[in-house]
Symmetry: C2
Subunit: 406 residues, 2 copies
């Protein structure tokens, strides 16, 4: 008897009818002789509606209270899903994050899971129950409710799968799996049958929103196979696991892109120790994540420092950086909010030279100018103007003739 | 520094604006130098909406799951109220029933409070917080959420007040206190300044919906003064406490009525031991509460047995009773769904004769026919036809010339 963890997103449980459909899918998994643990997100737009309600009361709602408020969304959907299973004659029980033993730190709104105390879940499985766990939430040592931030329910599911030693963690969503490029941009894009954790991590981090990087990291750490599939179709989906890298024939596995990119350049910075820290420490304190950082080669002890942030954080970042630029004697501080990234991703790339050159050529042929380049072992990312992202993704998908296995 | 427990009902926190108004009232109590614990119901019609959602999934939703689902309504309103207080600059924290230590039995949908473990509430008060507790809910020893059934939030408030040794438990609602008769029927009806627990218990049990009998019982048991007042006005309200009986000049303190009354008569029952049990045990098992029971004097070993149930439970009660009536050799079994009750209530009545006669006279003068009579030490109730209830209440209010003190 295998243990399977399934996660259903908000769009899969948006109304009573969809909840009943999800219950049928769960029942089928149970009928196949499996023990089933289900992690569920809040129904449809519930979370956004609760946030709106909070902001009608206060422009700066308290983080602790906001977490308690938001956590009710997943509790509601988990009870309704349990009721739907009962209605079909299946034993089921809903558990809150607290009851399921999701123990977190006390960083409200974006808590990290410290451990999973799965006694109650195990007990309910032994009683024959399908266990429905409210995703996105946990509890601190003080027994205060926290939420896990973006990708929270995916993370709950993978953490539970790891803790319970599940055979697979199935993430059900409204798309058919992980595509080799965004199908809205590339009509020929197709779902991948399988992916390695590292590739998936890069793809998730650089634009594919189907699965949150946190969940992928956790899956890699505990070697949990993750299946990403549609809750609306019977398509096989994409299996993310550790045994795939050696077998992939194609080196470039996917094209990621991101339109939410802005660039800040501090011009004429005196090139002396501590300057970088004097800029990036205040940004970190202000909660602004900096992605790429590039410092041009120093000429005559003066350098240009360029870094990227999300478009939504640009104005706050400029507020932080401008006074610092002045105080450290920089000549100017400029920004560009109309940027995007395109990335090619594939584990095989790390052992084979020439991928960067082929990427740059493909972009050049389409008249795409590259502003910044960053790389990891399994990824090459170019920062380009936002208006060219669509063309660039198509050109790269074509250039690397991505083949789908399986 | 006094400790005050306040409870706000669903209509008092129905939207963001009303929540802000309630926060102002709480802040004022805090400003007067008090420690404040607030118990809050779910916003407006939230509970009904959640029930509707559950029934869209299943006609027979599981009791445990229903309790978890419904409990989210009070969690939502408690967090929003805490946010509103933060917004005004007051330290506040919301606690679920579980966090506030409301420990109950495992009878879902209508759990009883076993004890209140108020450590966390006390700790938050000591930290200077206004503590907002989600009403209507508790937690079992297994850490499963329960709800307390009708009057649940009132009961939470009085239980917390008792456990914390609060100076007073203030129940804020949408009426100005406890009236000597229903003001919708009797325009001259006025709120009472004070009442004894027993009088209030009879009044609450026999038709005044302003405060649930459970909460009154608990208040009496632990001698917690309960103030019932409007959250929308500054009127003083009604104080229910133990020191009032000796001082009341008027003997009849209030007129209660109830339109939700139906009568079942089993005709020609053989008058032998065990017959009553054979009828009322199956009714109790079916969850049907029987109120008044009257058995006519036996003539020739045959008797008529009459009892009342709520109108909504009449058809189920008849389904239970009819086959039994047949099997015990009764001649027939008939029902009447168009009944009501009128009651006169007052602690002083128990020491003074003649109240029953005055009541029957007043009803007789208005042509009201009395079908059944029941009494307690502080109450006389007549069961009459529903169509005459309004006339009867007015006649009784006039006949006993109820005076309002204070």
């Amino acid at each position: 008897m295998a243990l399977i963890v399934q996660k259903y997103g908000g769009s899969s449980v948006a109304d009573a009818e969809k909840i009943t459909k999800v219950a049928r899918r769960i029942a089928r998994t149970k009928n196949q002789g499996n023990q089933v643990v289900v992690v569920v997100s809040a129904m449809g737009d519930t979370t956004d509606e609760l946030i709106e309600l909070a902001y009608r009361i206060s422009e700066t709602p308290d983080n602790r209270e906001l977490d308690v408020l938001l956590s009710t969304g997943e509790v509601v959907s988990s009870t309704l899903l349990a009721m739907a299973l009962h209605h079909m004659g299946y034993p089921a029980i809903s558990l809150s994050g607290a009851q399921a033993g999701i123990r977190t730190d006390s960083v409200y709104n974006r808590a990290r899971i410290l451990k999973v105390e799965s006694r109650r879940v195990v007990k309910e499985l032994e009683r024959g129950n399908i266990v429905i766990v409210a995703g996105f939430q946990g509890i601190t040592d003080e027994m205060d409710v926290t939420t896990l931030g973006r990708g929270g329910s995916d993370t709950t599911a993978v953490a539970l799968a790891a803790s319970l030693g599940a055979e697979v963690c199935q993430i059900y969503t409204d798309v058919e799996g992980v595509y080799d490029a965004d199908p809205r941009l590339v009509p020929e894009a197709r779902p991948l049958a399988e992916m390695g954790y590292e590739e998936m991590l890069e793809l998730a981090s650089y634009g594919a929103n189907v699965l949150h990087p946190r969940a992928v990291e956790l899956g890699e750490l505990f070697n949990v196979p993750i299946l990403v599939a549609s809750s609306f179709t019977e398509k096989p989906g994409t299996l993310i696991h550790g045994g795939v890298s050696m077998e992939v024939r194609e080196k470039v596995r996917g094209i990621a892109h991101n339109l939410d990119v802005a660039k800040i350049t501090v011009i004429g910075v005196p090139d002396c120790p501590g300057i970088a820290a004097s800029i990036f420490e205040p940004l970190a304190r202000a909660g602004i994540s900096v992605d790429t950082i590039v410092q041009n080669a120093s000429i005559e002890k003066v350098t240009d420092l360029t870094f990227t942030v999300t478009t939504s954080q640009l104005s706050r970042a400029m507020e932080v950086v401008k006074p610092i630029a002045g105080s450290i004697g920089a000549r100017d501080c400029v920004s560009d909010a109309t940027l995007g990234t395109v990335s090619i991703i594939g584990t095989g790339m790390q052992n084979t030279p020439g991928y960067a050159a082929r990427m740059f050529n493909a972009l050049s042929e389409k008249g795409v100018n590259i502003q910044l380049i960053t790389t990891s072992e399994v990824r090459i990312t170019c920062i380009i103007t936002e208006a060219k992202v669509k063309d660039a993704v198509r050109a790269l998908h074509h250039a690397f003739e991505i083949e789908i296995e399986g």
